[in-house]
Assembly symmetry: D2
Homo-oligomer: 350 residues x 4
């Protein structure tokens, strides 16, 4: 019953096997091996266009260096108030990009287009003292388990483009969003106006596999140097490539995300049907936010369930009572039906 | 015949096995798992004292963040002219530490103590315009395949301490130096006055395993934040831990380094005995610098041997003739006697 | 009728004279002259304790380098939402300090102590992902023309101290606040718990005279290097010293601020008494925020009056009508009664 | 007898008068006044083309922000080993530009073109690990009192251009070089291939007047933001403009530089003719390097003469004996014949 985060899961056996196979041979370092080239080419296929791909070690690195690649002096980047770049990365995006992250409010973990417009208007291009708008970054799936529809992405990118701003997508849970929307990678990204993508594999069954995908190669002009100076160029890069090679093979990545999402569906259905539990809000990814009787939560923890409490938003439709608690549950490729049924059973009995 | 670098090798089977085993379970993220704690404790044993250990993704990160942890505004760090921090890291040490790297000359890839003293004297602590001395960093084994003796390390750290400067050791090839000197990790580091160590595993049979070891925990005071802001905190940190767990188990790390060194010995002996080849200078680690007849070098390359040319130093005892070329050959845990004998045989025949 | 800002004024004749006198002699550069030492000693007297004083070129530099001197990696600094460090300095505080500025709301341009407490609580000292509280900065007088009372400063510094945070005061209009409260410099600063002060002279009759005053010399430990590396060490520092020498002589600084404040009083009285104008909110410094009939505003501008519009806050007690406009009027040492009476007369007639 | 540095001098009376006149009026802040615009236009005339001009507070700021404007990630900038950017600015150029300063040797304080070529060749544009060439900066007049001839500048810029590198000139003593060469500002800068100039006024009779002149406006694209974020935008910018207004009026700047140079000529002639003194090397600017009998030096100091000792270069044509000392003497607009004759007379008598 490990629902604390999808990064508590291990790695998929196919990924292990691919790594073990790779480990027996010699090959060129620093991303220059045949495997590195082959995996880069694979990204072209996945995204149906020529892209520039760079591997880095963490999601924080992917987001921070993406923003660094489009940074402007005195620039600010707009993201949702709860975005990882603002809330969870210890200022790394500001450190690497030299830009301030400006929060934009919005329901359901998504930037409100009107509020984004208004925020951008506060940072005109000649705004020497206050700072100038330089980038927009959105998270797909969001931090609160929701997913931008294609139309909602369009609305954000349209505003960005109208203001001449590049758009970055934080795809730490890209695959979960993709299979939930049932669209292609191209449809959810560059066809919507996304310029740069943090393509996350770690949370979805890899060990350490994060890629930055540039749909506009011009933006990647200096990126090899940005990455190297940021100490993010692995000597044995091919072990990241090997993970992606297995990950992208025969739809493994989509299958793992589908599994995680369907386990979350099972959780959602169960939590919605019990008396002692309810869904805090609707989600469609592998994250579930639930209000539990404190007794249920304590019973589950006593039996070994792992999950984190979550701060109660001010705008909850139904308030969280004193004898209740708000928690986040995250499923992964490794979550089993048994895990979920056991968890629900404990809650049901409390 | 892959002698281009030890980072062209794959990973040792024991490390693969340990990773595969780790991949099947759930565990806490961001370095908070039982395994992470166990491996940290293992470092205490290895070094015979309580140390603070932090994993990062690359050797460049290990060096740069080590220096960042002891940085002073307006400070400079002293290293050998050919050190990785100056020559090969794209300015990452300067970027993360905010300090300039000041080169110190010396024979055999080692800082000359007198020249180090003289350099430090040029940057007194009140030197507002020129900058002030803040750190010393030495590489063990060096970039040119040599190894500081314990006395030589003592000479460097004595000067540093006399000037109140902390000392960092870049141990990208730490194990190779250790087994060559046949001393304990403690003897080669903190007992000699080393304060911080970049402990490298990647070049010696891991996939991606670099640790920063603080012998003086006070210097690590802010380090968790320095690493996180540098985007170097892995969510699935335990896969680095797992590599180190196998690496440090039953002396695997020392055995791999011994193997690499002895393969280099075999190369050294062979190269020294042929007519068409000679050793450029003496080395005792897993790096060999050789002068080959160009015909030999070309023949070897034509047969698939991989190695890099090396710039000819100005102070070679015996000059490199026009029909000769200077190359670097690096062995690893994966190098075989057959590789070496084949290489020597090709050279011998050319 | 120059009410756009107090930095539109020139310089006081006494300051000119002192500079002219200084210009005829030779003296040591980089802050080492007798005059530099004498003026530093004068700050000790003014603040009734030994302080460390450093001159810089701009208010932005004073604030940014103050924050840099107390910065922590992964740290955040708290200020009012409308503070200069957030709104008007192009990210310089973030750039020099490496910290994010976190806004704290509050009425009348002042941080609300409870909201400050709540904000700080969101950044505990072990908050590796979200960031840790590192500093508080308050502006005296505030950006909206109000002034923290001594009790209000106490309330802020008490919270900061309880959380172990140093406190900076942005005193771009320090003298205006001081004479309005009618207290001593010591009473408004270190006796209230302020650790570092941006002591502004430029807006109050100097040409370019900004000082950073450290009440806790320990915090200034590295500051000479911080300033030099920030390119803020003037070679002819004594010309800043000369300005401060005249500024602090015979209470000139307080007299200029008193004059500016009393001119603002005259404006406040007049604006409050006319039909076509009203005070937007109460202020007690040299800044006046007024709601004018648009006709009055246009008439005044047509006659040469200079002032800036101001964004209408959401919480105005009395809303700004469509035929009205909200403006800011700033007085200075150079403002005359005639300027004010002419302005009021134009408004009165429109 | 103030020969310590030209920044020990005060300010010229005409500059005082212009400042005093400016102090009596109101005008727009942050460089938007009529005077600011007029002085900017004046730079166009001086340089015989449209230039972009930005004022900053110090020579260090001028150099550092110039380099920041042309910085590339992983880039390095080449300068003479003794250049101010390497020796005297506490790492500010590295801090603001993010680039390492790479020293280039050369006689007489000037980069040797062949050595510059060789150095640049070591940093090719795809040199990911070692870093890539990004800029060249030369100092005119040099730190050792010499002056690049037009041909020598051509040689440097030709190499830079052949490598696609922009060229910056540190003109802290620009006027002294100009009158010594007897050429126009255009001839010594953009007609020679200089892209950006640090145009110094402080050492030549101003109080604080440093400008960055962009001959290629494209390079200044982001500069307003670079300067503001660096805390270098003065609110009362017009007081810098006022200094330049007087400085550039009726050739005052050239007259002051001519005077300083001719005072240096007088020193050179005298020192060359005495038994107890000799010129250490030839100079043609307002800096003189002299070898004095220690007795003479001590006598001069005892009588109030101010000067600094200078480190003895390794390649002095005639060695400095134990009873001698090498000193630097700098003249300025304020140096008098009496100062010099008194100094020479003391030396002559010792």
């Amino acid at each position: 019953m490990f629902f604390a985060s999808d990064n508590w899961a291990g790695a998929h056996p196919s990924i292990n096997e691919r790594l073990s196979k790779e480990s027996t041979r010699f090959a060129a370092a620093y991303g220059n091996s045949d495997l590195d080239k082959a995996v880069e080419a694979r990204f072209n296929e996945i995204f149906e266009r020529n892209v520039s791909v760079y591997f880095v070690s963490t999601g924080t690195a992917a987001n921070s260096l993406s923003l660094a690649s489009i940074a402007r002096v005195g620039g600010v980047a707009f993201s949702h108030t709860e975005a990882h770049v603002i809330e969870d990365e210890c200022g790394a995006p500001d450190f690497f990009s030299g830009m301030r992250m400006v929060p934009v409010e919005g329901e359901d973990g998504k930037m409100d287009p009107e509020k984004l417009s208004a925020r951008i208007a506060g940072f005109p291009q000649d705004s020497l003292h206050h700072g100038r708008a330089a980038a927009v970054t959105l998270t797909q799936a969001t931090e609160t388990g929701t997913i931008y529809t294609l139309d909602e992405i369009d609305a954000i990118t349209a505003i960005a483009k109208a203001n001449g701003l590049p758009v970055h997508m934080d795809g730490a849970r890209f695959a979960n969003a993709l299979v939930s929307l049932d669209v292609s990678p191209a449809e959810m990204t560059w066809r919507r106006g996304i310029d740069i993508l943090s393509f996350g594999g770690t949370k979805n069954g890899c060990w350490c596999a994060e890629a930055i995908v540039f749909f506009n190669p011009e933006l990647a002009r200096d990126f090899a140097f940005i990455r190297k100076r940021a100490a993010q160029l692995f000597s044995k890069t091919r072990f990241i490539s090997a993970q992606f090679d297995a990950y992208l093979q025969d739809g493994l990545w989509l299958n793992m995300a589908s599994h995680a999402n369907s386990m979350a569906d099972r959780l959602r259905a169960g939590i919605g049907s019990l008396n002692s539990t309810r869904l805090a809000w609707d989600t469609t990814s592998n994250e579930v936010f639930a209000v539990l009787n404190k007794a249920s939560a304590e019973a589950a923890e006593a039996r070994g369930a792992k999950f984190y409490g979550w701060p109660v938003p001010t705008n909850m439709p139904e308030p969280v009572r004193d004898d209740e608690t708000l928690i986040r549950l995250v499923t992964s490729f490794a979550t089993t039906e048994e895990d979920i049924d056991q968890f629900l059973s404990i809650c049901s009995a409390s």
